[in-house]
């Protein structure tokens, strides 16, 4: 039962990979070794592809591995396996949290956590920026984008993403 096996392998990955998409990579590496579904080279390709297609990276990787292993249905099953533990855990947290959200301890904790998340988001920016801003041209483009985004607050983010693609294609 390849579908059950796919579901189970990705369920475990979803359950133990804490901290977002890239956290699934070490688990996927082990999965490839244990099951023989894919090797390290394929995994590297998958990461590259996931970064150049829309959507959460973990989901892209699950869909891709499932597809390679057992066709489109395999892709669907692997993805559902990956997100299932996440949905279950968050729904439980939701039920508890919504009840105690106004409690002073919970409020005190989240006041601190929000500040820390700002720092973590700044790090996420730093990671993307450090691989993309590699020369003067990139820095200028980046500055232009900042100015545009700040000036045109009402414009949908996708407009800037399309402009980014166009700039990448047409600026030598």
């Amino acid at each position: 039962m390849i579908y059950l096996q796919l579901f189970w392998e990705f369920f475990k990955t979803g359950l133990f990979a804490v901290g977002g998409g890239m956290a699934t990579v070490p688990f996927l590496f082990r999965m490839g070794q244990n099951t023989g579904w894919f090797d390290a080279n394929t995994l590297t390709d998958m990461i590259a592809v996931s970064e150049s297609t829309p959507g959460p990276i973990g989901v892209n990787m699950a869909t891709y591995v499932g597809n390679r292993t057992a066709g489109p249905l395999g892709g669907l099953v692997a993805t559902l396996g990956l997100v299932a533990p996440c949905i279950i855990i968050i729904l439980i947290i939701c039920k508890v949290l919504m009840k105690y959200m106004k409690h002073p301890v919970v409020e005190a904790v989240f006041r601190i956590l929000r500040a820390v998340v700002i720092g973590l988001l700044a790090y996420a920016f730093w990671q993307v920026a450090s691989v993309s801003l590699i020369g003067v041209k990139e820095y200028i483009l980046f500055a232009v984008f900042i100015a545009l985004i700040v000036c045109f607050k009402k414009v949908h983010p996708i407009v800037f993403i399309i402009l980014g693609a166009a700039a990448g294609l047409f600026i030598p």
Partner: protein
């Protein structure tokens, strides 16, 4: 409403390049500005929980907002929405995937997209930071979180859990002081 949740999150999933953190500007747009489903504070709360619970951050946030609006079914609808475009796109290109990322035009376009996305993330971080970092303590903690992750390579899980411990100890001390 269930369909609205599905479609809104499908839109966010479709337009996100580069994982959960890159999703923030789009979620801000769709869920805070346009629909009023969550405040920016709530959004940051969800991100914080997403950092220290298993699974994909985008899925965590979708489940939270969906649950808040329409209970368990809403949470599931929003999550299926956010993963739906990925499943369709990857399934469609799975057979020639390695080829796809080798195309030079694709690489060039994505180099440009990454610059736009980093600008979007930075503006979002500033926008949220302005509201959240109001005193010395919060500014210091945000800088500290950034620094220990950048220079010490500490995992976000460890950072978030330490922050919770700090907040609890601080709360106990403050509560003790009130009693005296």
């Amino acid at each position: 409403m269930i369909f609205q949740l599905f479609f809104s999150f499908a839109k966010v999933g479709l337009l996100t390049f580069g994982g959960g953190m890159a999703m923030l500007p789009l979620l801000q747009r769709e869920c805070v500005d346009k629909r009023g489903w969550a405040t920016e504070d709530e959004m940051l709360n969800y991100y914080a929980i997403g950092q220290c619970t298993p699974g994909i951050i985008a899925v965590n946030v979708a489940t939270f907002i969906g649950y808040k609006k329409r209970g368990t079914l809403g949470g599931i609808a929003a999550t299926l929405g956010v993963v739906f475009p990925s499943i369709v796109i990857i399934t469609a290109i799975a057979s020639f995937l390695a080829m796809f990322s080798g195309i030079i035009q694709v690489q060039k376009a994505f180099a440009g997209i990454r610059i736009a996305v980093s600008a979007l993330i930075l503006v979002s971080v500033f926008r949220m930071g302005k509201k959240t970092l109001k005193d010395f303590e919060t500014v210091f903690l945000a800088l500290l979180a950034f620094a220990v992750q950048t220079f010490l390579g500490l995992s976000p899980v460890v950072i978030t859990l330490s922050a919770i411990a700090y907040a609890l100890i601080r709360y106990r001390i403050a509560a003790g002081r009130d009693l005296e």
